[in-house]
């Protein structure tokens, strides 16, 4: 913009000087009729001025004008005989024509006061020649000061500046980017019209408002901090991406380029810069992320399915194995024994393969939960290695175990997982070693006050692994060479599983190997130091059988499982009574007295939980309490809690494992509740009975308006990926408050569209966010994604439904 305040004093000064000298000139001319040399010099100087000067008499006639003045006003004639052309018009800035009375000279004459800094347009009847001027008018009073004899008009031609300004204004008004200025208080002081296109708010109505209030609330703090750095001079330039709230409620991503703005004195007066809508780019990025997440979710869903098959596959396999054990315990011909032992070892290797595949799929489904308990390292390690000794002996290999003296014996960690990794690596080492031996060493890797890390090294004298395969060996479906699969058998998943488990326990795994010399697998795991007290509490009973003969009620509907339990128990000298459902169990316990009840949880007619509740209700006040051991199918966490709540004392997992059963029986019959830990399934709480979407209810919540149903479905589809994204990030970073808030919003949104499955899981995640650990959220989060995928499909159909 042209600064009239800057130019006006100059024009005014020139005007006064010219006015004074012209008056002098005129006076001399009257007296002597001839101009002196100095007067001529003065006139020449005026002629040379680029500023137009016109001197008028009180009657409006022109006394004098210099060249610039003549040019600007198109004055006719020269010297003192000048006339204004009839086509000459002066206009205001806005184009209103000035009457003769309104000319600045006329106003100065009437008022006797100078007029200055007026921006005017001069027209000579031809639009192309219009000029912009900054005009000053000075009155020249008579000697007695009573009347104004003359007026002097001085004019600065500002047409070029004006054009440049117009050009800039056009650019500012039409450019797609927002151009802004804000003051030190963060309030808008300038916004171009693009602001309205980008945010929906008018530029004028937004001026003076706090700029941060247009951001979504989460962004305000960080953006304010970035602008502070700019204003404090820490940075010359800032590029910020932030979400604005459009007037229509939608969120828009905006990229802001900002610089510190300075006043004339060089002090920072705020910031200025540009903003542009990058929502499309962000949407594409989000869609790509979403597609990737969907692909991952679908892959997880498949793994989930396989993991869910776990007990379906293992149960019959264990049935076969258990029955073979029972038969092998009887008198057999040597040929029968040989055949049965072959059958038994085939069953065992098949189970190993199945377990590998299932473990792997569970890991892929993100369902590995690290379960931390106190344990004693040396005894447990010896037990674990003992199971591998026959294999080593069979191949004529040495199998040595060494635990450094400074490794504490009482530890807290996930022994089941640690054991799995050790057994896996040792079994692998035995498999690939023909001569020599396998050496296991456990050392202290690092320790702090809070915890410690173990370093486990499994060294073999086997075939070795070529250097180029070292990285790939921990990937899925890889053996050093596909031909090794044929030669040595196995799924090729063992090391992958080991690597993922180590990762889950906060450690790392690596490999040193030399071809033909052998390999050493190293891994570290984090543990905590345990107290001796807590360690002994869960120490497995070393006695494999119960001291005295017990009267056991087995409640089980499955015939194979019945036989297995009866076989196991009777062989140890216990007496067994059978009941095939909860109702029979309640009756049996009323009739006879038992030392212990083995209760299946899922049974027809009456389940184990209900039966237990009835038995406990009857016992109330009698002073008796029969120990009840739950037999659960998948050792779900929820199951465990439900069992204990119903009044059961302990639980074992199906298929029944003899060692586990007797350990628990020992504990229970000795009067202390014990629980066996499952090494198999992890929690699985799929709410498969909860509907994904209740359309009738949805329509009702939308006030019976199908159009609103479609709108809500579309908005939900639009909104939830952002929430899921937030929740995923929150779980990864352990930001429980963020998890809680996002889950809360999702629960609210899914409630409004009657989507019970998503709502239920979101509520659960909200609860975890309120009082829980990020790790607890992982399993429900996978579930949430699965339910959301199903919901998305349903809503998509609804949102696309045509209006009737």
């Amino acid at each position: 913009m042209i600064s009239s305040t800057a130019l006006a004093p100059i024009a005014l000064g020139v005007g006064i000087a010219v006015g004074a000298s012209v008056a002098r000139l005129a006076g001399r001319r009257r007296r002597r009729g001839k101009a002196s040399t100095s007067d001529r010099l003065l006139v020449a100087a005026y002629e040379a001025l680029s500023c137009g000067v016109v001197v008028r008499n009180a009657d409006g006639s022109i006394v004098y004008s210099n060249r610039a003045g003549r040019d600007l006003l198109g004055l006719l004639g020269d010297g003192s005989g000048l006339e204004t052309p009839g086509s000459l018009r002066l206009y205001t800035e806005r184009g209103v024509v000035l009457t003769a009375d309104e000319w600045p000279t006329e106003r100065a004459r009437r008022s006797g006061l100078p007029v200055h800094g007026e921006l005017l347009r001069v027209g000579l009847g031809d639009a192309g020649t219009e000029r912009w001027i900054l005009a000053d008018a000075v009155p020249l009073k008579s000697d007695d000061g009573a009347t104004v004899e003359r007026t002097v008009l001085s004019m600065v031609d500002v047409t070029a500046q004006r054009r440049a300004e117009q050009q800039y204004r056009t650019i500012v008004d039409t450019v797609g980017e927002v151009i802004y200025q804000m003051n030190l208080n963060g309030c808008w002081t300038f916004l171009n019209p693009a602001w309205k296109t980008v945010t929906g708010f008018g530029a004028r109505e937004s001026l003076g408002s706090e700029s941060l209030s247009f951001l979504v609330p989460e962004e305000r703090g960080p953006v304010a901090a970035q602008f502070r750095r700019l204003v404090h001079g820490e940075l010359a330039h800032q590029r910020v991406e932030a979400r604005f709230r459009h007037r229509d409620g939608s969120e828009r991503w905006i990229e802001i380029h900002a610089r510190a703005a300075r006043d004339a004195a060089g002090r920072v007066s705020g910031t200025s810069g540009t903003m542009r809508d990058i929502t499309d780019r962000k949407t594409v990025e989000a869609a790509e992320r979403g597609a990737r997440a969907a692909a991952e979710a679908s892959s997880r869903a498949k793994s989930e399915f396989v993991a869910n098959m776990s007990h379906e596959i293992r149960t019959p396999m264990n049935g076969v194995g258990g029955m073979l054990d029972l038969v092998l315990d009887t008198e057999l011909t040597s040929e029968q024994r040989e055949h049965l032992e072959l059958a038994k070892s085939s069953t065992d290797s098949l189970l190993t393969v199945i377990n590998d595949v299932l473990d792997f799929s569970k890991i892929e489904a993100g369902r590995v939960v690290i379960d931390v308990h106190p344990f004693e390292l040396r005894d447990n390690l010896a037990d674990a290695i003992a199971s591998l000794r026959p294999r080593a002996r069979h191949k004529g290999l040495e199998l040595e175990v060494e635990v450094d003296a400074d490794v504490p014996d009482s530890l807290v960690g996930d022994w089941a997982r640690l054991r799995q990794v050790v057994v896996n690596l040792v079994a692998n080492a035995i498999k690939f070693t023909a001569r020599g031996g396998v050496h296991v060493r456990i050392a202290l890797h690092a320790h702090e006050s809070a915890g410690l890390a173990l370093h486990v090294a499994v060294r073999d004298t086997g075939i070795g692994i070529p250097q180029e395969k070292h990285a790939a060996i921990f990937e899925a479906f890889t053996q050093a060479d596909t031909s090794t699969t044929r030669h040595y058998g196995g799924t090729g998943l063992g090391l992958t599983i080991a690597a993922r488990l180590v990762e889950a326990m906060g450690g790392r795994i690596w490999l040193e190997s030399e071809m033909g010399v052998g390999s050493t697998f190293h891994f570290t795991v984090n543990c905590a130091r345990g107290s001796d007290h807590s360690a002994t509490r869960v120490r497995p009973a070393s006695q494999p059988s119960v001291a005295r003969s017990l009267n056991v009620l087995v409640v089980e509907d499955n015939a194979v499982n019945q036989r297995l339990a009866v076989g196991l128990l009777e062989r140890r000298g216990h007496r067994v009574t059978l009941a095939s459902n909860g109702r029979d169990a309640v009756d049996a316990t009323a009739r006879d007295s038992f030392d212990v009840v083995l209760m299946d949880v899922q049974m027809p007619v009456m389940g184990g939980l209900e039966a237990t509740t009835l038995i406990r209700a009857r016992e109330r006040g009698s002073g008796r309490r029969i120990p009840i051991i739950a037999v659960t199918a998948h050792a779900m966490r929820g199951d465990r809690a439900a069992c204990l709540e119903a009044g059961m004392d302990a639980y074992v997992t199906k298929p029944i494992n003899a060692d586990e059963l007797f350990r628990v029986l020992n504990g229970v019959s000795a009067g202390q509740p014990a629980s066996a830990r499952s090494t198999g399934d992890t929690p699985d709480d799929a709410p498969n009975v909860v509907p994904v979407l209740d359309e009738t209810e949805f329509l009702r919540l939308a006030g019976g308006d199908p159009a609103l149903v479609r709108e809500l479905a579309a908005i939900f589809i639009d909104e939830y990926p952002r929430l899921v994204q937030t929740m995923r990030g929150a779980i990864e970073q352990g930001d429980m408050a963020a998890l809680r808030d996002a889950a809360h919003t999702l629960a609210g949104a899914s409630g409004s569209i009657a989507a019970p499955a998503v709502r239920m899981t979101a509520k659960r995640l909200e609860g975890i966010g309120r009082a829980g650990a990020a790790d607890d959220a992982r399993a429900p989060f996978v579930l949430l994604e699965t339910s959301l995928a199903a919901l998305h499909a349903r809503l998509d159909v609804i949102a696309r439904r045509d209006a009737v």
Binding site: P217, E218, L701, G703, D705, L708, D741, A749, S752
Partner: protein
């Protein structure tokens, strides 16, 4: 007939759309905003809304804080406010009433309950023929 304007402040766009949809069908003119600061900004603006629906859990300050601020300003203290919540805190209703809420609903919002509550706060304009 002048429109009856209802400021709907809920950060959840699904719930917001549901509320606005039901209100619109009932003859109101809903104006959605998505956080507390915008709620206050629009409540202060002329002409003031005829009623305000406030969600308890909103970014930029909770609905209850917003309500407290609205009740402190002469310009907004008379505007009837309906508080909604998706939370399970049993004391919210009482707290909201103490601060000056005129009515209270839990989510998910039942359309009938919403219409009933709104009619009590400010009746909708008669339906156009």
């Amino acid at each position: 007939m002048a429109p009856v304007r209802v400021l709907v402040a809920d950060d959840d766009r699904v719930v917001s759309a549901q509320l606005c949809g039901i209100l619109r069908a009932a003859g109101y003119s809903p104006m959605p905003v998505f956080d507390s600061i915008q709620a206050i900004m629009f409540a202060m603006r002329d002409p003031s809304p005829n009623a305000i629906i406030l969600d308890v859990n909103m970014p930029g300050g909770t609905g209850l804080e917003t309500l407290r601020k609205l009740r402190m300003s002469a310009k907004t203290m008379h505007i009837p406010v309906l508080v909604v919540t998706g939370g399970t805190d049993p004391n919210v209703a009482e707290t909201a009433a103490e601060i000056g809420a005129d009515d209270f609903l839990r989510k998910p919002i039942e359309p009938d309950a919403l219409r009933e509550a709104m009619v009590k706060l400010v009746p909708p304009p008669p339906a156009k023929r």
